[in-house]
Symmetry: C2
Subunit: 264 residues, 2 copies
């Protein structure tokens, strides 16, 4: 089980009311993983140390570098050292990105790339391949919480799941918000899983960046047990994506395009 | 009150058990703010739209660009458009940073800067200017939760507070984990508040990046009601910083340098 390598024991001084004692406790791991693209160092991600292939491929999909399966020529992973070597056909999109970053890139983080570049490239999600009932949404979010073993043991990770109406198809956990979703993007790319008829359930807040990532994936419904931001809602409204927030127990809020959530 | 401008009303379809109805609800705002340094576009941050002066100055402090108060020549803010213009004396550190990013920067996010650069520059926090009792820690974390109005109304923000043993000195909320801490860094820089005798309370997980930011600020104690990562603990151990996690109710865990948390 991947999540076992994602945690480690540490020595901790616990205070419980008037008692103080030293013990061992499980804590979530965080490692730097450096990605080399066509022989050049490209990016270093801080992540949970599992599913590095999915993470690396998903990151390159998110950045618009990998667009079609034939773009990926080879991938070699050194898990011990946290190094991933990818050979790929670099699309025009990547060249645009590199130029943009070379002209004025100091201190920029990847959020900006989404704003200046992706919002133009992402097409509207118009599919009606999936509708879901409120009961199905709540059953799936409940299942995601049950599956979150690493969170229950360490309290330190985000998780994301790709689902159809009734079951969880992919499930990943990571200390990074983006990484958990990138792992789903990468696995779908590697395994040829269609996304326009699926929904994404995410443990964290739905920010503009997470919303744009779902849009890039072509996913029509994004669900969270947490809150969306107003900017994410604006973008989802424009791009035709259904945003569901605060899904928990027997309650949920639908912020955009409620037509996909039906009583049936 | 700043937090009022940080939220907005949206139309939402609510499902509560078998009932479905349309209503208005408060949701947290998220805006892009672009920072110009000495006339050049430098970075765009996604943030809550308050305390932009503190945020901009704190971001430049975090990046090692502003080191001493005389480095800051002027700051002009256009809140309406989300534009901040800063004139500053650029230190050698910034030149190093810019060169580094110009040689190989595509896709990098700011986490990497911390890893390749900051860990060498941050000095060990050796101060014993502050000790705190477990009771004081729990009183302060409890107060932080009470102060978090925006979170209670929208469920969508992180908060951070700068405290001494007994009171909250600065308090900021932001949709971005880093931004809330950067606002504290910026306000302290602008107002000449000493940091080596204070503690930082943070609502989110203590990742390596947040830990390194506290180290750069010279803060000896960082406290969270959430979990730290193993990498953050490793770095805190080396840098002499006390990490307290899961502080809530009458419980807390001390992960590093417990000598600063005393029964008194």
């Amino acid at each position: 089980m991947a999540w076992k390598q994602n945690r480690t024991d540490v020595r901790v001084t616990k205070i419980r009311g008037d008692r103080m004692y030293v013990t061992e406790d499980l804590i979530v791991r965080e490692v730097p993983v450096t990605l080399f693209l066509n022989g050049k160092e490209f990016v270093t991600l801080l992540c949970s140390p599992d599913s590095l292939e999915e993470l690396a491929v998903g990151f390159l999909c998110s950045e618009g570098i990998l667009q079609q399966p034939p773009d990926l020529k080879s991938i070699n992973i050194n898990s011990e050292e946290g190094l991933v070597y990818i050979e790929a056909t670099v699309s025009q999109t990547e060249k645009t990105l590199i130029n943009r970053y070379n002209t004025a890139c100091y201190g920029r983080d990847r959020s900006i790339f989404y704003f200046i570049n992706n919002i133009k490239n992402v097409s509207t999600v118009k599919t009606d391949f999936i509708k879901i009932t409120p009961g199905q949404v709540l059953t799936l979010t409940d299942r995601l919480e049950q599956m979150s073993l690493l969170f229950r043991e360490t309290g330190g990770v985000h998780n994301a799941a790709l689902c159809n109406n009734v079951e969880v198809i992919l499930f990943y956990e990571d200390i990074g918000r983006h990484n958990a979703v990138d792992k789903i993007f990468g696995k779908s790319f590697l395994s040829g899983i269609t996304l326009e008829d699926k929904l994404l359930i995410f443990s964290g807040r739905i920010s503009s960046e997470i919303l744009l990532k779902a849009a890039q994936m072509g996913i029509p419904i994004i669900i969270s047990r947490s809150a969306p931001t107003a900017l994410a809602i604006d973008i989802a409204d424009k791009l035709g994506i259904t945003v569901v927030g605060f899904a928990h127990g027997d309650k949920l809020n639908i912020y955009t395009h409620p037509k996909r959530v039906t009583a049936m």
